[in-house]
């Protein structure tokens, strides 16, 4: 469904990612692992179109989207739930969700999607008119995911969903991930938390300083010694 | 404490060569062009003095007309109204300006003003100061003050106008640019940049923000006031609408920014290019269509900014890379 070939990307002319190739099949949950500064966020931003690739191709649903703008990608259904949630703090939960369904494709479906999201996260329903900035970290993460779902995501990319959450909330969020997987959503899980990701993803890629060090089924990655190496930076 | 780079600059034949060459210009130029260069040097000095706060520590002060006005109007009033020698007036005015600067720095720190609040509060101070000056008889009111003729008596702070004034301004401008170089090569410069880039982080690593900001503001205010006194002596007419109006600060900030903010030679470069451009445009076109020269000047400013959005100095460095290495890069 989403394919990346030979991607090179970075900031201000300095490449951070070198020759990345990866693939997401329909309905799959794929983990993207790596230590800090391995280039995970740069990669996910390249997929969202925030960072323009210097070389390589990104193919979505058989279409080359390498040069597509962030807006066009959202329109196609490539949705990012950014690291640190980045909810709009001065807007209510409802408004945040409405903005999630801002793109032309999702806009007519907003009432229906809203119902779905609120069914998935009953907590949000109670807080609908509360400013997002007053929510707890876990609730904000729910909102961020809910906001991503509002766009009728076809690929949902979650950037560090466990970051800064209590273990209980982490459990909850990954429970949601499993449920979404069951519903057939294609997902890219970008995580630092190795074991957690390996438990919830079918396949994984391990990034190490800008290139893919290990790839394969979760079990394979788990047992590959290079995975630990990539993490420890050895 | 000051880094070797500063002394290298001091010993640089380039620096003194340019200054000496500049000093010889009035010998070959007519009195009109000498005058234009004198004005340009006034703005070099003012923009460089402003740069110490506006460029280095990132406090965009629009209150500098307060310091210029203090240096100019106060020393002029002391001379005209009380007969106080202008050298003494210069010192009194500079001390007053330094005190005003310290107060403004303290207010900024005490009330933790944001960027834009600081800009606007200093603008409000400047507006109030100009209203007070225009309404206060001692400072000449709206009519201003006429100084006695400049007969070249050095003891009375007179330099004989023309070339004399040019050399005084050249000296002042050189000193202030060198003060910029010195600060950038000293712990103060380092602290100021740290504060500019992240005040909280600076505080966290133990920088005394109040002291560093105050030091910068006081140095800037004192230097600005001295230039104000020298400028009014040259003009002979202390005009409140010029010397105590926020408009002059806006011009200074324009030169400093277009030249290259926070750099030692940037503001000087901006003033040296833009002031003569404005003067010559006005001289050539002022009699033609009213406003045409300003119109073109405005377009030039826009084009320059769009062409080199980080300032003229970086552009010049790119163009004359070899030569700029002779002058220590700051």
């Amino acid at each position: 469904m989403l394919e990346v070939e030979g991607l090179v990307a970075g900031y201000a002319g300095t490449p951070i990612l070198r020759d990345i190739s990866l693939r997401l099949d329909r309905g799959e949950t794929v983990g993207l692992l790596g230590a800090n500064n391995a280039g995970k966020t740069t990669l996910i931003n390249s997929l969202s179109g925030i960072v323009t690739p210097m070389a390589g191709r990104i193919i979505f649903d058989g279409r080359d989207v390498t040069r597509a703008t962030p807006m066009q990608r959202v329109e196609m259904g490539i949705i990012q739930v950014p690291e640190g949630r980045l909810v709009f703090p001065e807007m209510s939960v409802r408004e945040n969700l409405l903005l999630g369904g801002f793109c032309d494709r999702a806009r007519p479906l907003r009432p229906r999607q809203m119902e779905k999201v609120l069914a998935l996260f009953p907590r949000l329903k109670e807080r609908l008119s509360q400013p997002a900035g007053t929510l707890s970290g876990g609730e904000q993460q729910m909102l961020a995911i809910g906001r991503g779902l509002m766009a009728e995501a076809r690929v949902l990319m979650l950037d560090e969903p466990s970051l800064g959450l209590s273990p209980l909330f982490v459990q909850y969020i990954f429970g949601i991930v499993d449920q979404l997987h069951k519903d057939g959503l294609t997902m890219l899980l970008v995580e630092q938390n190795l074991n957690l990701t390996l438990r919830h993803a079918q396949r994984c890629y391990v990034l190490e300083r800008g290139h893919i060090a290990v790839e394969g089924a979760a079990e394979v990655v788990k047992n590959d010694p290079r995975t630990r190496q990539a993490y420890l930076g050895l | 404490m000051i880094k070797d780079d500063f002394f290298k600059t001091l010993a640089s034949p380039w620096l003194w060569g340019i200054v000496l060459l500049g000093a010889m210009l009035p010998m070959v130029l007519s009195s009109y062009y000498t005058h234009i260069l004198t004005i340009a040097l006034v703005y070099v000095a003012l923009a460089s003095a402003w740069n110490i706060v506006g460029g280095m520590s990132g406090q965009i002060s629009l209150a500098h007309s307060l310091f210029i006005g203090t240096g100019a109007m106060l020393s002029a009033a002391l001379l005209v109204k009380l007969g106080i020698n202008m050298w003494a007036g210069l010192v009194i005015a500079a001390a007053t300006a330094g005190l005003l600067g310290a107060i403004i720095a303290w207010i900024d720190f005490r009330f933790q003003l944001g960027h834009l609040s600081f800009v606007l509060i200093t603008l409000a101070f400047a507006e109030m100061a100009s209203i007070v000056v225009e309404g206060w008889d001692f400072l000449g009111g709206a009519s201003g003050l006429l100084l006695p003729q400049d007969t070249g008596n050095f003891l009375d702070f007179q330099f004989g106008g023309g070339r004399g004034a040019f050399w005084v301004m050249l000296g002042l401008a050189t000193i202030i640019v060198l003060v910029n170089v010195a600060i950038l090569n000293s712990p103060l410069g380092y602290y100021l940049r740290t504060i500019r880039d992240n005040e909280k982080a600076a505080q966290a690593i133990g920088v005394n923000v109040l002291r560093q900001k105050t030091t910068a503001m006081v140095i800037s205010a004192v230097l600005t006031s001295i230039v104000g006194t020298a400028y009014v002596r040259y003009l002979t007419f202390a005009d409140p609408y010029l010397l105590a109006s926020p408009v002059i600060t806006i011009e200074i900030v324009l030169f400093a920014t277009v030249g290259g903010l926070g750099r030692a030679y940037g503001p000087a470069l901006g003033a040296l290019l833009l002031v003569p451009l404005g003067e010559v445009l006005r001289g050539k076109l002022g009699g033609a269509v009213p406003g045409l020269h300003y119109f073109i000047y405005g377009i030039v400013v826009i084009v320059v900014i769009l062409a080199t959005p980080s300032g003229l100095l970086p552009l010049f460095e790119r163009l004359f890379w070899r030569r700029s290495r002779m002058l220590p890069k700051i």
Partner: protein, 287 residues
Amino acid sequence: MSELWQALAQGVFIGSTYGLLALGMGLVYGVSGVVNFAHGDFISLAMFMCLALFSAFSLDPYVSVLITIPVMTAIGALVYRFLLRPMVGYKFLMVVQLTLGLSLVLQNGILMIFGGQPARTPSIVESKLIILGDVVLRLAHVIACAVAFAMAIGLYVMLRSTDFGRSIRAVHQNAHAAALMGIDVGRVQVMTFALGIGILAVAAALLLPGTPIQPTQGLQYTVITLLVVVLGGMTNFVGIMLGGLVIGISEAMGTVYVSDTLGRLVPYAIFVLIMLFRPQGLTWRAS
């Protein structure tokens, strides 16, 4: 006592137009971080457009506004697209200087076309008075005040409950996240700048009756607008209208009750005091 009411009325009317002038600037600042020093000159531009329309077609400013709104909006969009957008990412102050250059161009362009003498644009309401006992109100003022508040409310509602409004607020609160929602940040910035300039067309028509205009007036409008915007807390429309009222009323009170030229100090002094003790502006919620 009637003087107090009269002064208060004057302050409210002037203040509400200040607020109206400032709404556009607050909007633009919130979305693209631009402090536009040519703001006042855009007001001038709109006013002189009304004058030109009167000279050519005898149009009343209240009618001309139908033409000046789209024209000013288009000018705003072009200015943002071709002058300000290339500056995104460079120093804040450099952008300010660019708008100063623009101010020189606008002011002197107007001077070249219209000359420097004060000019009047007649309007049907310019000589209409409403007399309430000792207090005399100008119809033009009353209309201006009403429209100013109506527009402030309209903008508020637009920001709250339309998708366009929400996208503006999203860009203001987090441009990166807004892009991830599929919002075209650049387009939102162009449109808000255009809207901010378009509002000035309305303000210009409201201010015109009974006000002689000159090309040089721009900077004074800019300074007042800046004070009001900062006082209002930059992006909060309620705060901005309030800021306008504070400046307008203190200006009127200062002139009426403080003798000599010192009366002019009052609005600035009040501004400084408020800013020192409420640095985030007049809005009550701390940021």
